[in-house]
Subunit: 333 residues, 2 copies
Amino acid sequence: MSKSAVVIEVTRGPVVESRHEGIAAVMKPDGTVVASWGDIDHPILPRSANKPIQAMAFVESGAVERFGLGNEHISLACASHLGEKRHVETVRAWLKKIGLSEDDLECGTHAPRLQGTIEELVREGRTATAAFNNCSGKHTGMLTTAVQYGEPTKGYIRYDHPVQRRLREVMSALCGIDANGFPYGTDGCGIPTLATPLRRLAQAMASMADPSRLSNKHAEAATRIRAAMNAEPFMMAGTGSFGTRINAALPGVAQVKGGAEGVFCGMLPGLGLGIALKMWDGAGRAAEIAMATLLGHLGVLPADQQNDIIHPPVRNVVGLLVGEMRPAKSWLG
Amino acid sequence: MSKSAVVIEVTRGPVVESRHEGIAAVMKPDGTVVASWGDIDHPILPRSANKPIQAMAFVESGAVERFGLGNEHISLACASHLGEKRHVETVRAWLKKIGLSEDDLECGTHAPRLQGTIEELVREGRTATAAFNNCSGKHTGMLTTAVQYGEPTKGYIRYDHPVQRRLREVMSALCGIDANGFPYGTDGCGIPTLATPLRRLAQAMASMADPSRLSNKHAEAATRIRAAMNAEPFMMAGTGSFGTRINAALPGVAQVKGGAEGVFCGMLPGLGLGIALKMWDGAGRAAEIAMATLLGHLGVLPADQQNDIIHPPVRNVVGLLVGEMRPAKSWLG
């Protein structure tokens, strides 16, 4: 295993039981590499970690003003939410504002992620709908953009729909190369996810963190999105989630977003830097520790908050402390 | 990444999105290595994958006969079950037979693993209890052994309790070295999990698959446990689970059991072989594909069943086929 890799260890008693390896890049908007671990030219699927980028065209469209939307909606457009009551109700009210309904969402329906929400639905005799999908805010943002520009809403998840074309234009402007050339897969919620070299994903995040090189339209949207992520951290994910805790704890300092299969991105406006990381095995638990470790390493996560986040306890069913998760000594441990 | 490693790929569209690496050993009871990938001397925590070994002392004790127990109980003693109705009710009835109750289980309580079970509990106004714990069958087996030998039941999960000492004696007999020297961590359900060199874990499985070198007592118990795993595959796990499907599909041919953090073990009585594997990152999804791949490689998983199990589809929320999981070409692909 390469010493230059991101390595997260999971211990149990005296044993390192499991270990996760990955790659990470810390970039400036001009493409300068500030720090890197592993092969950062490797194309990775950003999955939900680039939702803040996907929200750009929505915020730029003028729909926020036209429909009287605010930080909670912008944050939801960047979110992988847990399908809690406030997430679901805000999405439904937003769809109503733009003259649409849940029937227009093409993300599909999955079970709520919190046991309490599943139990609540049963008690109330209801079932989950598309608004419960963790991507429903992003999809509503995309629908809103289509409505704003008078485009067909049906098929907004397709690669050739104007909504998806705009995403690739924004991505190209932020990351410095043409995203139309990227291969792509289909994300869990049906939209294309573009195979992006990790360094370019980090550069796009840097461009949102320090948008001084962008057009005014892009720069204003990036600044507004960063503010919304900190102002409405609950909307970004929900109760107990790592992303919500970080975005709440570091207002104006850091905005982070994770994605499926071990991806995490971050913007550090004070330093003018962007971060992207991917765990090869797709482990979200390791991506979180890696992001927290990098935030500590870059000096933006205060020492008194680092320990609990970087060394979270591994507890067993009866609550006994049986191990920990931590960066390996070979990385930043 | 070493060419000699177990490698499982997860694809999405044209991209290998994530990959898992691990180690595997196929052994004979006398310690001969039939096949291996990676460093099989590495100590790993077997977690629940060695439950069939943990059930040996219970079956040997005579308690099966004394309390009128059968295959369903022996299978439950080897199980990581999903907390479905039949699992829970059988554990409760079994505890009653030995004069104990759920209060005597020291495994703790966790939420049922199937959404349907969570919903059922809410509808019936009930909450999960210790019998729902996926390890409740193993714990009941341990309690039964303590009752059978007239030992204190309290504290049966402790390293020095006779129940755990017997486990180490059996483990030593099966794997060929003294398990009392193994370092250990605390498992999710509170019992010690012994850091076992992977080759020794596979050798222990081989000793159960071909018990001809063991004492009569050990050999009879091993044969009975293998039969129970095939006869009551539902009790081993539950609806839809990989282990249940394999144990149901290959009666007399293979008996498999997985554990947390990417461990999987198997017995192949016809070939007289044992298998143990561990994915470094702890990914259960990869451990399942790796076990299915090895069963195919060793000729015990019929070709017509291999494709669905070795190349399971990766579907998104709306059910679209978006990728697959498969052994990498560098391994057995």
